[in-house]
Every structure is written in structure tokens, then in C-alpha cells.
């Protein structure tokens, strides 16, 4: 989008259409052979893809959410019926389950974000040392991140399995007792957190490590001459220098945590069961199950997805504000 503004800085007051048709005659920077359409041609490929894969699905989603459709059947127009069900506290079937899953997601975001950032930061600081074989360690920490969620889900489901899981058996043998990891809380949440941590910590670590390596070495040298110990150096040099990158990582992490779906789907199925549809069921899993499981309520799922999108936009705006204030 920005290329449009840069390539066509005309200040005339004629409309877009007339400019395309007649050209912007008083544009001093126009060169021979350059048509006023040129900038639009440049953004056309991206706009075409953007329209096909973002704009069209978005408006189709809005359209579906106002109808009563399944995958094949274009149902009749029902107006805001699904939104009403989702916002009406007296609705027994949809309201409580949807908002419960939203709440579950928020819990996960609140718990997982500090953990994933904290551990990532700690690991990055460790890997930033001059130690033997540090490249091997960097690779090891990063490797889980290249696996797909199905591998992670199945692996950790086996690890925490109530009967024969490695963790369960190890704890029973060592302490004579083990929690029923996947079937009771808080253990179910902890299992999901551990799996997520193991899986995604590598990404945060690598980004933060890159940030740390960009910090000028003379800062540390000057600090150590002044007698600052390692912890003081970390607090007063590393953290402040890392701030822009840290904000980026936090933003990405919040969004990623909001999109939690595969781990509970494969490990707990959203359980332990509750009257509200499961204590670890995140909202996107609920949307998926509504639209593609059992009854395949596509329209209802579309309405839910749009509400989630609205929530995500609000979160993104808050993040954006944080960034802006950082820049100024």
C-alpha cells in the first residue's frame, strides 16, 4: 500500500478515476513513458492475492454468518440469529460454551506469554555465552519448533498418558503418586503449557538471541570496567537494548497463544469435562468443532470466528499502541 503513496505524490484535487484516465498533468515528478496507472499495476499482483485469500473469504464469512448454511446447503437468510445466540446470556446451548472457551483462551494467554518470554530470554542469555558447542545447543533448542502440532500433540499425549505415560510412570515409581495429568486440572493446563513451551521456545530464543548479538560489545566492556556484575549488565544493558525486539516477541507470542488449538485438541480434547464444554477448550477449537464436527454448523462457526477476529483486532490495536509509544 505504501508504494502507492510514494510513487504518486500528487497533490491535485481531482478524483482517482479522472487521474487514472487523464493523468495527473501537473505532477512534476512524472517521467516520460510513466503512466498514472503504474503504481496501481505494481500493487495489483498483491492486491489480487490479498482479495482472493483475505478479502473474499472475509466477506464470505460475514455472508455465511448471516445465513443458515452447511458446507453444501446455502441456507436461508437468518439475519443476526447466530450473533443473538452468542450474546444472549439466557441461551442455553451457545452462549455459555462460547464465552467459556474465550475465557479459557485468555487464561492461556495470560499464563503462557510470561513463561514463554521468560524462558526464551533465559535460554537466549545462556546461549549468548561463549561456551563450547553452543551452535549445537542452539540447534537442539530450535529443532522442536520445526515439528508439526500433530507430532507435538501425540508425543506429549503419550508422555502424560494416564496409564503408561513416561511422566506418569516416572512419578509413580519415584514418588509413589502421580497426578492424572490430562484428565484433571490444573495438571491438564500444565501439560499443555509444557508441550507448548517445549515446542515453541526455540523461536523466541532465536529471535532474542539475534537481538542480543546485535548489542555492541563495548557497552559491556565499559560496564565491566565500571565494575558492573553480570546481572547488572543484563538489567541495565541487555534488557533496555533488547526492548524493541522484546516487544515484537511479546506481540507475536500473544497472537500465537490466542491461536492455541492443536495441543488441547490432541492431548485433552478440551477436557477435563465441565458443564461449559471443557476446562481447556480454547475458542478456536470450539469454533472448529462447531463448524466441522458433528452438526457442522458452518454459519454459527462463522459468526464465532468473526467475534474472535474482532477480539484479536482489539488486542492488536493495544499492541500497536505499545509499539507506537515506544517509537516516540
Amino acid at each position: 500500500m505504501s508504494s502507492m503513496a510514494a510513487a504518486s505524490p500528487s497533490r491535485n484535487k481531482r478524483g482517482l478515476l479522472s487521474r487514472i484516465v487523464w493523468g495527473s498533468g501537473n505532477d512534476r515528478r512524472r517521467r516520460i513513458g510513466e503512466s498514472p496507472i503504474t503504481p496501481y499495476l505494481f500493487i495489483l499482483p498483491h492486491f489480487a492475492i490479498f482479495s482472493a485469500f483475505i478479502l473474499f473469504p472475509f466477506f464470505l464469512g460475514v455472508w455465511i454468518s448471516l445465513h443458515d448454511s452447511t458446507a453444501l446447503r446455502d441456507g436461508p437468510f437468518v439475519g443476526l440469529r447466530w450473533y443473538q445466540q452468542l450474546f444472549d446470556p439466557s441461551n442455553r446451548t451457545q452462549f455459555p460454551r462460547f464465552w467459556n472457551s474465550v475465557w479459557n483462551t485468555i487464561i492461556f494467554v495470560i499464563i503462557s506469554t510470561p513463561l514463554l518470554i521468560g524462558f526464551g530470554l533465559a535460554l537466549a542469555a545462556l546461549l549468548n555465552q561463549r561456551l563450547r558447542g553452543r551452535n549445537i545447543f542452539r540447534a537442539i533448542y530450535f529443532v522442536p519448533w520445526t515439528l508439526s502440532v500433530s507430532v507435538i500433540g501425540l508425543t506429549w499425549w503419550w508422555m502424560f498418558n494416564g496409564n503408561a505415560g513416561f511422566v506418569t510412570m516416572f512419578m509413580s515409581d519415584t514418588f509413589g503418586w502421580s497426578p492424572n495429568w490430562l484428565a484433571t486440572n490444573p495438571w491438564a493446563w500444565i501439560s499443555i503449557l509444557v508441550a507448548t513451551l517445549w515446542w515453541t521456545i526455540g523461536f523466541n530464543t532465536i529471535i532474542l538471541l539475534a537481538g542480543m548479538q546485535a548489542i555492541a560489545v563495548d557497552l559491556y566492556e565499559a560496564a565491566s570496567i565500571d565494575g558492573a556484575n553480570k546481572w547488572q549488565q543484563f538489567r541495565s544493558i541487555t534488557l533496555p537494548s533488547l526492548r524493541p525486539i522484546l516487544l515484537l516477541v511479546i506481540t507475536l507470542q500473544v497472537i500465537a497463544s490466542f491461536q492455541l488449538v492443536g495441543q488441547p485438541q490432541l492431548m485433552t480434547g478440551g477436557g477435563p469435562p465441565s458443564e461449559l464444554g471443557g476446562e481447556t477448550a480454547p475458542v478456536l477449537l470450539h469454533v472448529f468443532n462447531t463448524g466441522f464436527g458433528g452438526r457442522r454448523e458452518l454459519s454459527l462457526a462463522a459468526a464465532m470466528a468473526l467475534i474472535v477476529a474482532a477480539i484479536m483486532i482489539v488486542v492488536s490495536i493495544i499492541n500497536f499502541r505499545l509499539f507506537s509509544s515506544e517509537r516516540s
Binding site: 529443532v143 494416564g162 480434547g269
Partner: protein
């Protein structure tokens, strides 16, 4: 939407090939690892244990004369959801058919069960439907309403198909809005599987599995007290929790004479006395008999490892259990806690709108469906109870022997006469397995909720959904 941001983005590969190789090697390892963990149950080749026969109990295949192969050569596509070892048996039957019927050739495509309906819908909108499908009876009404499956009353009439050829419940499950929409090929029931070695260790007779409440509870206590294994395990959560708790509930619900809805489909009624006692009984096993509450599939794994003495499972687990326990595996009808009966499903063969388009494809499809039905003995070897009475009553079935599954299936085959089904309506399965279905209610009762209260609440929610679907599909 389901794609996660955790999916790795493209990485700038500045660090040379060493890292790339390492990652590639580990990814390969991960792939192999998933393949191993995911496919541990399905590597047995078909036809090894049971020689393939093209001879049905009625003599030569398709010999009733009611159907004839098409006059010109026709090629049909058939989709099925049989991803396990049963898929190989299905393919074997089709291969036999193809070699016996040069004019009508069938190509089988197996689709992943969870996405089966979605794939059919996608194929329908792309105008690429197969001609024949095998599908669960409960999926048929939805497929008919979506224009995927068409009614085949003329098939039933022409071939003399009716309730006298099949157990009545199985036959009736293939009917929607008064029309015949599927021909049943099997029923897959929930059965009792028990570990004979653990029975012996616990001082029980390995040849007399429990048949009623008293002997069932006695066996649970004996095994959990005298061996290291659990006597029984109750599923209370997990990804398959609603399903596994659901079939457990349904079996006891049927035993108590429960009905899912009233007759005109205006009210869901699993909160009846039969429902309450079913859910309470399952909770009682956990609360009073020390049966551990586990997440879904943990009870199945424990049974395979000899750490669980008894398990009630769908018949499709037979192969897995047979592989794991061999001689020690005992199979029996589930104990009659409140009476006879068990949960079951039923696969049907159905004609699609693509198959009905052309007279020749239809002739070929009908000929095949009739042939399959008559030759479904072989399908029993895949681990399903054949639906057709004469196949189950045949000597080959009744006196089956050998290492295959057929002798085990023959032991539970009488269940075909008492098995019951969910109503054949669009999304009928959700009454049991869906959100706020009876299965989910059962997990909550196991977790300590009051049965009557939670069943009332969920039945009310299901009634709302039922009425919505009734209006949608006009039944």
C-alpha cells in the same frame, strides 16, 4: 483458522547446510516416529489368515438372479472410510467382485474417517462424487438432504430386500423420510473384551466371562484385588471422551429400554429413568468399585498392555486386542446390567447422485451392492458382524475357526439381534456424541455431577437443537 501461528515460517538459511541437514534428518525422524505411533494398529495383511473366497453362502456370487451385470462395460468409483485393516478386507471383496464381473469394474478409494463427510461435500460441489459409498447409517440423512445420496427403493423392491433379510433395527436404520437410502452391510457393536490370563490370576474362570451385574462387579473386584491390573477403567475425559463414555452410556441406556427422542422428534428424552440409571451406574463403577477414571484411549492401551482386566470397546478394536493378547483375549457380549442390549453402529452401501445419473452405472452399482451383501462373510473376517441374516446363520460363519477374527466375531454375532441405534435423522449422532450430548453428560456424572440434573439440562439443550434441525430438514 485451525492453522497455528506456531507453524514454522520460512527461515532464512544463512547458516550453511549443516543446520539444514540436521533439521532435515530430525524432521525425517519425526515423520517416521509419527508414522510408527499413528499406525501401530494397522499393518496386518488381509487374506493371510482367511483365504479369500468369491463364494458367498448363497452359492456363486450374485446368483439370486434379481440383478444382472450391465450390458456394456462400466467403471465405478466407490468411497469408503475404512482406514484400518478392514480397508484391506473391503478391497479384497471388491477385487473378487471385479474378477468375477468383467463388465462392472469398481475402484475403491479410502478416505480418512474424520473428514469423510467434508470430502463428500467437497466432491459434490465439484461434481466429482463417487458412484457408490460405504457410510455409517447416521450420516445418510444428511447426505440425502445435501444431494449426495439418492433413495433406492427400487433396489429393495427388485432384490426383495426387507426386514426379513436383516435384523429389524439394522434394516430400519437405513431409512430416511420413509425412503430406503442405504443397504446395511454390517453392525459394529460394543462388546466385552477380557484378559483370560488376568482372570485366571484373579481366581476367576477364564471361560465364563461376566454376564450380569453381580458377576461383572465380582470380576472387577477380584482382578483389582488379586492382580496388579485394574478390573475395569472408566473413561472420564480426553479427546475421545464423549464418544467412549457415550457408547458406554448408550449400551446401558438401551438395556434399560431407553429411547432417544419421542416419536415425532420434538423432544430429546435421554434424561428418562433409563438414562439416569445408566449414567449413575457408570459413575458407581468409579466411585464404589475402585475403577480408575482415565482419559480416552488410556483404558484401551492399558488393556493391550495387560494392565486392565476388562474393557467394553467397539468391535473395531478386536484386531488390535487380538494382536496384543493373542490366546489370552476373551470376547463376549457385554454383561446385562439392566437387560440385554448394546450400542452399535451400522455401515451401509448407498448410491450417490452421480451413480444414479446413468442407467448403466446404476445397474452396475445395484449388482455390486447385492453381490457385496450376499458375500459379506468375508466382511465378517474384517472384524464386523455381517448384517445379512443368512450370512450370520451360515455354517461357514457359525463354525469359523483359525487365527483370523471370524471366530471371535461369531461369538458376539447374536448381538446383531438386540443392537439398537440412534434415530436416523440429520445430526442424530450429536444427541449422543455432540456437545451437550449424553456422552458428555456421562463424563460429568463420572466427575461428580448429579445425573438427573445434568441429563435434564443437556436433554433440554438437545431438544432446542433437534427442533432447529427439524425445521431445517422438515422431518
Amino acid at each position: 483458522m485451525q492453522a497455528s501461528i506456531f507453524d514454522p515460517p520460512v527461515e532464512s538459511g544463512r547458516r550453511g547446510t549443516g543446520r539444514v541437514r540436521l533439521v532435515a534428518a530430525l524432521s525425517l525422524f519425526a515423520l517416521i516416529f509419527t508414522a510408527c505411533t499413528g499406525g501401530g494398529d494397522g499393518s496386518e495383511a488381509p487374506g493371510e489368515s482367511e483365504p479369500a473366497t468369491s463364494q458367498g453362502p448363497g452359492g456363486s456370487g450374485g446368483a439370486t438372479g434379481a440383478f444382472q451385470p450391465p450390458s456394456e462395460n462400466v467403471e465405478l468409483t466407490l468411497w469408503n472410510p475404512f482406514t484400518g485393516p478392514d480397508g484391506d478386507f473391503f478391497q479384497q471383496i471388491v477385487d473378487d467382485f471385479n474378477s468375477a464381473t468383467p463388465a462392472c469394474q469398481i475402484t475403491v478409494e479410502t478416505k480418512v474417517g474424520g473428514e469423510y463427510a467434508a470430502q463428500l461435500e467437497a466432491a459434490a460441489s465439484a461434481n466429482e462424487l463417487p458412484h457408490v459409498i460405504a457410510a455409517g447409517y447416521d450420516a445418510l440423512p444428511g447426505h440425502v438432504e445435501n444431494g449426495i445420496v439418492v433413495a433406492i427403493d427400487d433396489f429393495a423392491e427388485q432384490g426383495g430386500y426387507g426386514p426379513d433379510l436383516f435384523p429389524e433395527a439394522i434394516w430400519n436404520a437405513g431409512e430416511w423420510k420413509g425412503q430406503r437410502v442405504g443397504i446395511p452391510i454390517d453392525t459394529h457393536t460394543m462388546n466385552l473384551y477380557y484378559n483370560k490370563a488376568l482372570f485366571e490370576e484373579a481366581g476367576l474362570d477364564p471361560e465364563s466371562p461376566p454376564t450380569d451385574e453381580a458377576s461383572f462387579e465380582e470380576a472387577i473386584t477380584a482382578i483389582s484385588e488379586n492382580t496388579d491390573a485394574s478390573g475395569y477403567q472408566v473413561v472420564g475425559s480426553g479427546p475421545g471422551g464423549n464418544f467412549l463414555a457415550g457408547i458406554q452410556f448408550a449400551a446401558l441406556f438401551y438395556q434399560g429400554g431407553g429411547e432417544w427422542t419421542n416419536e415425532d422428534f420434538t423432544e430429546v428424552t435421554f434424561n428418562s429413568e433409563a438414562g439416569v440409571q445408566a449414567a449413575e451406574y457408570i459413575a458407581h463403577l468409579a466411585a464404589d468399585l475402585d475403577a480408575p477414571v482415565v482419559e480416552s484411549d488410556a483404558e484401551i492401551n492399558a488393556f493391550q498392555q495387560g494392565e486392565n482386566g476388562m474393557v467394553m470397546s467397539g468391535i473395531w478394536e478386536t484386531t488390535r486386542y487380538n494382536d496384543a493378547l493373542g490366546e489370552d483375549l476373551g470376547v463376549a457380549p457385554i454383561p446385562s446390567i439392566f437387560g440385554d442390549g448394546t450400542w452399535g453402529g451400522s455401515h451401509n452401501l448407498a448410491l450417490t447422485s452421480a451413480g444414479a445419473e446413468d442407467e448403466n452405472t446404476k445397474v452396475c452399482a445395484y449388482y455390486f451392492m447385492d453381490w457385496f451383501s450376499q458375500n459379506s462373510l468375508q466382511w465378517g473376517a474384517a472384524g464386523q458382524i455381517p448384517a445379512r441374516n443368512e450370512v450370520r446363520e451360515s455354517d461357514e460363519f457359525q463354525n469359523a475357526s483359525g487365527d483370523g477374527l471370524l471366530p471371535l466375531i461369531a461369538q458376539v454375532a447374536p448381538l446383531a439381534d438386540s443392537v439398537k441405534f440412534l434415530p436416523t435423522i440429520p445430526a442424530g449422532g450429536d444427541i449422543l456424541f455432540g456437545p451437550q450430548g449424553a456422552g458428555e453428560a456421562t463424563t460429568l456424572v463420572v466427575g461428580g455431577s448429579e445425573a438427573q440434573q445434568i441429563l435434564d439440562e443437556f436433554a433440554a439443550a438437545q431438544t432446542e437443537i433437534l427442533l432447529q434441525n427439524k425445521e431445517r430438514y422438515d422431518f
